[in-house]
Point group: C2
Chain length 206, copies 2
Amino acid sequence: MFFCSKIYRKEAFSIKALEEKIVNEGRVLPGDILKVNNFINQQIDTVFLKEMGKEIARLFKDSNPTKILTIEASGIAIAVAAAYEMNIPVVFAKKGNPSNVSKDSYSALVESYTRKNVNNITVEKAFLGENDKLLVLDDFLATGESLRGLISIAKQSLAQVVGAVTVIEKGYQGGGDNLRREGLRVESLAIIDEMDENGIKFRPQN
Amino acid sequence: MFFCSKIYRKEAFSIKALEEKIVNEGRVLPGDILKVNNFINQQIDTVFLKEMGKEIARLFKDSNPTKILTIEASGIAIAVAAAYEMNIPVVFAKKGNPSNVSKDSYSALVESYTRKNVNNITVEKAFLGENDKLLVLDDFLATGESLRGLISIAKQSLAQVVGAVTVIEKGYQGGGDNLRREGLRVESLAIIDEMDENGIKFRPQN
């Protein structure tokens, strides 16, 4: 028999619901790694994803983005969820330089904090332009390297960046706050202020 | 020469609509490459994606899959679109072996036809099991290597594979028909029987 004492609908988005998912389903590993493979990064909880997409659409409704710009692979599902609600296309930057990608691309170097490597991220020039208002999106925000790479690509295309959104920000790494100080609107659905094997402390948000 | 008389709503899915998108928006490049970067593989037409998701859900409605198993990166958006309609999770196999992936994974070697390389694709064991009925999904089907890799992972987990679905099948490469001859239900939203720089010939489907 099931007794459900959850005070929120499991699938409904709230900052609290996301924080509880991170605590209950995530794992903190040595090397400052937070694994949320069971609802974002390998298994995707599509019911919860839909709610996150609605929340992102709500947050950036007044910015009227024309496209969402993200980065493969883990950004794609979240970008699609948000773009569904906003009825706009997604463009995702590719990592590396596969042989079947045209040389007519914008590119930026991005250092991965968790993987300790550098990727060349690319977007074909045809997909971004000066008439675009871009919402840049990623799953995680730590040092801000990925967002800065996407913003660099946006600037190369002369598109406007209306803001940035991520699901989980490691606030203590400062990448998000640095971008905010530079005047960019950065929203993260959950912001972690402290994290170790013993627990996770979230930044209070409205 | 192609004569395209559009009699469908641009965003509604029909085999014809997809075939026309492939002809009008895709590019055939030397090396047997079909680029559909402008609506699937880099820019994602989310309105059309939603219709493809509905069609996949319709095709596999009676199979009652519990999860969709796909492969990063281009499979993710399509898998999410289909999983949205079916209210089931997506699991995506990762390529390579990044340092923050657990060793407790199922894996399979997959040779990429377009990139001429071999990837080790992996799924954490926690996400698949004997109670799962999996719909395996990919964007392209050519030699069938990717689907076979996903099916191998499914079998390692003792999950049942209820079928396979792809958006674009290069029928002339035989990978799909080989799998069908082995008894697997394989659905492709469009099947190409001939393709070169002068044009694309599709296999008639009901």
